[in-house]
């Protein structure tokens, strides 16, 4: 919000000024000064979010995790260039040889079930428990950051971190793909072909979809994080829960449960590679992500706002 805007909206002028003969111009100057003391919730929230993001992205550990994820398309690209895929490889991988853009999708497919969620779990598990274990939580709350506000910003921070991971992987995969393989119109899984621009748009859609899937898992991690003062414990519990969910997916008799599991929907991003885009599958996936985010967000909120801070 600009200064000019707030001035015209006007802060109530001091009483003396209203009654007195102060010229309008002076009144404007004073109310501008008064504005600086007026709370600006949105701006203040962005300031704290900026602080969160820079704290997260400056931690060497978090950067190493991103670098590891980003090394996957590099390794995959080099291996395919030197050795080539064997016939057992998934179609999506075999297509890379014909089109570098496919490296993005192939890399995502390899990362989305384990490496990306692990990376997100580290940041999400740290969200509340990390601050609690340092003791910084009590100072943030007496600042006062506000419990609900802090929790929302922690979630936003995890989402941004997930987005950064996915985007870095996609960009690195694009660079490697363009450098090592021919690039041209993209042949989709269903056989149709789209232009390079359309292909890039679909890469962006994959990044968006996977980010939201990771954010939903981040909500689970944050919820766990509000129950403990030991960050590694929160990370461990959310990771084990994720692996547990994937084990359940492997049991044929439990197939009816699958649509309700978060992990089921992560690699549904390949719906983007159909023609037309498999909007129903993607839509269902997004619905599940939203449901997980909401339910675990509510758990985190009720726990965090009602809890005594003892560290």
């Amino acid at each position: 919000m600009s200064t000019v805007e707030t001035t015209t909206r006007g802060t109530p002028a001091p009483l003396a000024e209203t009654l007195g003969t102060a010229p309008v111009l002076e009144g404007d100057v004073r109310s501008t000064q008064a504005v600086s003391r007026r709370p600006r919730p949105v701006r203040a929230a962005f300031r704290l979010l900026g602080s969160e993001v820079s704290l997260t992205l400056r931690r060497p550990r978090n950067l190493v995790l991103i670098a590891l994820a980003a090394s996957v398309p590099v390794i995959l690209g080099i291996v395919l260039r030197l050795v080539g895929g064997d016939d057992d490889a998934p179609a999506i991988v075999l297509q890379i040889g014909g089109n570098g853009l496919m490296l993005t999708f192939a890399s995502m497919l390899m990362l989305v079930q384990l490496l990306l969620p692990l990376t997100v779990a580290v940041v999400a598990g740290d969200a509340v428990a990390g601050e609690a274990s340092l003791g910084t939580l009590r100072y943030l709350l007496t600042a006062p950051a506000g419990r609900t506000r802090l929790l929302l910003l922690k979630f936003a921070n995890v989402t941004i971190y997930a987005l950064v991971c996915c985007a870095v992987v996609a960009v690195v995969a694009l660079i490697v793909g363009v450098a090592l393989f021919p690039v041209g119109p993209v042949q989709l899984l269903s056989g149709a072909t789209v232009s390079v621009a359309e292909g890039l748009l679909r890469v962006a859609m994959v990044v968006g979809y996977v980010t939201l899937g990771m954010a939903a898992f981040g909500a689970v991690g944050i919820a766990v994080s509000t129950f403990t003062d030991v960050p590694i414990g929160a990370v461990a519990v959310s990771v084990v829960a994720m692996v547990f969910s994937q084990v359940i997916m492997l049991v044929p008799q439990l197939e009816p449960v699958r649509p309700y599991l978060l992990t089921t929907w992560w690699n549904s991003f390949d719906g983007v590679l159909r023609d037309p885009i498999a909007a129903d599958v993607l839509g269902q996936g997004l619905l599940v992500f939203a449901a997980y985010t909401f339910v675990f967000g509510a758990i985190a909120w009720s726990r965090f706002t009602g809890r005594d801070i003892t560290t």
Partner: protein
Amino acid sequence: MTTVTGQGAHQAAPSRPTPATVWPTSAQGAHAMPTTHATAVQPDAATPFPGDHAIVSRGLTKRFRGGQVAVDALDLVVPRGSVFGFLGPNGSGKTTTIRMLLGLMRPTGGGCEVLGRSMPDGLAAVLPKVGAVVEGPAFYPHLSGEANLRRYDAADPTADPRTVRRRVADALDRVGLGAAAGKRYKAYSLGMRQRLALAAALLTPRELLILDEPTNGLDPQGTREVRSLIKDVASDGTTVFVSSHLLAEVEQMCTDLGVMRSGRLVAQGPLRELLAQRAPRVRVETAQVAQAASVLNQLGLGGLRTGDFEVTADLGDLLPERVNAALVGDGVAVRGFAVQRPSLEEVFVDLTGEGFDVDG
């Protein structure tokens, strides 16, 4: 004026009286007290309006899940503009009280008001005006002192980001950390960490400072600096609520006092009046102990105690020179004569007991 709270305070807890009724309630409590602690004084004209209190609690209670009562029906009254020393042995409930005042913990009974707003409902409005050091410093180890202060400033929605650079620099200078601003927190000594916590509490102008053991880990020089800093802050009209178990420190800087023991507030009031409750004693050094004792007895002095080559007694209203003249007049060879004013330590030990389980 001094209030002593005890059994009576429990009766007040469920009804949650308004601040105006705090004093009568406390006075009732005082009547119910054991006589050893009967130090109650009725409210006098010096008592400010209830609205003039920086902190008021009524029946504030924290019972932990295990059933342990950490804070028991606390009726705390901290006048605005005072430097309030919150004393008590380790484990007497000081930090738990502070955590409830700051909204970090939820009371299980009673309530409290900070700067006129009831907690925890008024947290968002009140806390920007409160600077706090709770249970020692806590910062991000890999960030510099300056970056750490910026981080906490960012968490305060009322702080102006345009002035943060100057405010952080000022706060660091004020605690003598200007030169170490760019150093990582993990390289700070305990004393520097403690100073950084104080700097964080001084980031914006405050109406109330709540400091939990602020001189922990400081060398004597640092302790003096913190004391003068507190006096400096208080002279601007900021109320300072400082918990400590260092009696000398409290005696030197506080105007008011609250004394905790096993979760209860056993006394509170202006420091002067708490000290005045204990009568000064005369101490006579002489070889003629028995004779000196009988002279003092004849003068009507109570609390007579004799030792090897010394006699002590409560001075009462008598002038010390009269006592000395009477002793000399009676032929007692006085080797030494002293009037002993009670120290805060004696008052404190009186109130909290020599050990933890006195009066258990």
